[in-house]
């Protein structure tokens, strides 16, 4: 579904990704874990064409999307629930969802809206409320719901658990599993909450300072002693795995 090969990218003269290779197969949930500043968000944003890759290739379902403008990448079926959620604060919940459906066939709008509100009944109670007045958890639901409105083939989720209460985090992760299992949406998930992410993911990659340090199935990485030490057992995710 998604293949990233030798990807280099950065901001201005500062290079943040030094040759990333990952692939995400159809129907999978792939997690990307790593400390702050490892380049996880930069990787997701580079896949979406902003910033542009300085070298390497990104293919989506076999088609080269490297260097395409962001909106055309979105139209190929890639939806992004970005870091910080980026809800349109002065638009209602319904309008936010409509924006998510910008590129979808308008005839599907009602069905897609029902489907998303089925996943997130809370949003249904708040359709006329402004996005900026929602709680953090509701905003996260809206960000994911908005991304789903375009019927994406691949969903990129950037830190959906950030700043949320543990109970809400569990809810969100359950919904991600549902979306993947029942609606067949492929997911690439970036998380600092390594335990949740690894439990959920079929496969995972560990990123350290702009490189992939380790890859494996979710279960393998959960039991990897190095991962346990750095990201799970009380580790706040501050440490780094050796690149060996």
């Amino acid at each position: 579904m998604l293949r990233v090969e030798g990807l280099y990218s950065g901001y201005g003269r500062i290079e943040a990704l030094h040759g990333i290779d990952i692939d995400v197969r159809e129907g999978e949930i792939v997690a990307l874990i790593g400390a702050n500043g490892a380049g996880k968000t930069t990787l997701l944003m580079t896949i979406c064409g902003n910033p542009r890759a300085s070298a390497g290739r990104v293919t989506l379902a076999g088609e080269d999307i490297t260097g395409l403008p962001t909106h055309l990448i979105a139209r190929r079926g890639l939806a992004h629930s970005p870091e910080g959620r980026r809800i349109f604060p002065r638009m209602s919940v319904l309008e936010n969802l409509r924006m998510g459906a910008s590129i979808a066939d308008p005839r599907h709008f009602k069905d897609d809206l029902d489907r998303v509100l089925g996943l997130f009944p809370r949003l249904g109670e708040r359709l006329d409320q402004r996005g900026g007045t929602l709680s953090g958890g509701e905003q996260q639901m809206l960000a994911i719901g908005r991304a789903l409105m375009s019927r994406p083939r691949l969903l990129l989720l950037d830190e959906p658990s950030l700043g949320l209460a543990p109970l809400v985090v569990r809810q969100i992760f359950e919904i991600i599993a549902t979306i993947n299992r029942e609606q067949g949406v492929t997911v690439l998930l970036v998380e600092q909450n390594a335990f949740h992410a690894l439990s959920l993911a079929h496969r995972a990659h560990v990123m350290v300072t702009g490189r992939i340090a380790l890859s494996g199935s979710g279960a393998e990485l959960l039991n990897n002693p190095e991962i346990r030490a750095h990201y799970l057992d009380g580790g706040a995710g501050g440490g780094a795995v050796s690149t060996s």
């Binding site: 962001t70 909106h71 979105a74 980026r86 638009m91 409509r98 924006m99 910008s102 590129i103």
Partner: protein
């Protein structure tokens, strides 16, 4: 009292025109955070295009003034829209992502260019247009109290209100309007959702320019004289209106336009006509000093 209300009517007419121009300033500012200082020149181009178009159409329409006016209005809107598109495309889009000062300077460059272009192409002398819409209605409101409103004032007012209402509806209800608001609130996110941000920005310039074009035509009809330099003062006054209403706020631009128009006509009526521009710009200074977010604007809150 009669004199006062008469001046209010004159002021509102003028204010409606300022409001139309101010919409373009405020819309562009909202969406790309830039003051388009060439917007006044688009209005000036609108005045010239409408004059030429009206003269052409009235010579071929066989005496129907209304038809000639309508045709001239459409032509003016189309051509100013085209100018707005070209200016954005050539002078601002290449500077997207550049420091904020760069497009501002580019805008001043465009403004000088357009002024000089019209000066060379049309000559520097003022262009007169004999009154086209004459007459009016007189409202008798009791003893010794009557107000006269010219047909032209009514046309200006009705047309402006219609355009503003249509425009408000477009922003609130259509998918283009929604995309514009989304782009204004978070351009990067809008692109991630598949919105062609460049096209939305272009559309914003096109719509703003068409509205300024209408304003240019109204002024041509109202005052009957235009020259290549009218865009400067009108542009800055409309900018003042946008700032007074709260830059970025669409209802603010309309309100600000009306208030600036009223200020100008009442000041001229009761104080000194020579100082009417001073009064307007004193408002600009006052707003910037004491209420920079304007009457209906949002204070700029840093996002967390």
């Amino acid at each position: 009292m009669e004199y006062f209300f008469q001046q209010v009517i004159n002021g509102l007419t003028l204010g409606a025109i300022y409001g139309l121009i101010a919409l373009g300033y405020t819309m562009v500012y909202g969406i790309i955070g830039m003051i388009n200082f060439a917007h006044g020149e688009i209005y000036m181009l609108g005045a010239f295009i409408s004059l030429v178009a009206f003269l052409v159409f009235s010579s071929i329409s066989g005496g129907s003034v209304a038809l000639a006016l309508l045709a001239a209005l459409l032509v003016t809107m189309v051509f100013t829209a085209l100018w707005g598109w070209v200016v954005e495309r050539m002078a601002y889009r290449p500077l997207r992502g550049a420091p904020r000062l760069a497009p501002l300077i580019s805008a001043i460059g465009v403004s000088i260019l357009l002024q000089n272009f019209v000066q060379i192409a049309q000559g520097a002398r003022v262009k007169p247009l004999p009154p086209v819409i004459q007459g009016g209605v007189t409202l008798d409101l009791g003893a010794a109290f009557s107000l006269s409103i010219s047909w032209l004032q009514i046309v200006i007012f009705v047309l402006t209100l219609t355009l503003m209402a249509g425009f408000t509806w477009m922003i609130a209800r259509t998918s283009l309007g929604r995309a514009q608001r989304a782009t204004e609130q978070d351009m990067k996110m809008a692109a991630l959702l598949g919105v062609n941000v460049d096209r939305v920005v272009s559309a914003t310039f096109v719509i703003g320019a068409a509205l300024a074009g209408v304003a240019g035509m109204m002024v041509t009809l109202y005052y009957g004289v235009i020259d290549f330099y009218i865009g400067f003062l009108a542009g800055i006054k409309a900018f003042t209106a946008a700032v007074l209403g709260g830059i970025g706020s669409l209802p603010g631009a309309m309100l600000g336009g009306l208030l600036i128009g009223l200020t100008e006509s009442l000041w001229s009526a009761y104080f000194s006509i020579q100082y009417k521009d001073v009064a307007t710009f004193a408002i600009l200074v006052g707003v910037l000093l004491f209420r920079p977010s304007g009457l209906l604007g949002r204070p700029d809150v840093e996002k967390v």
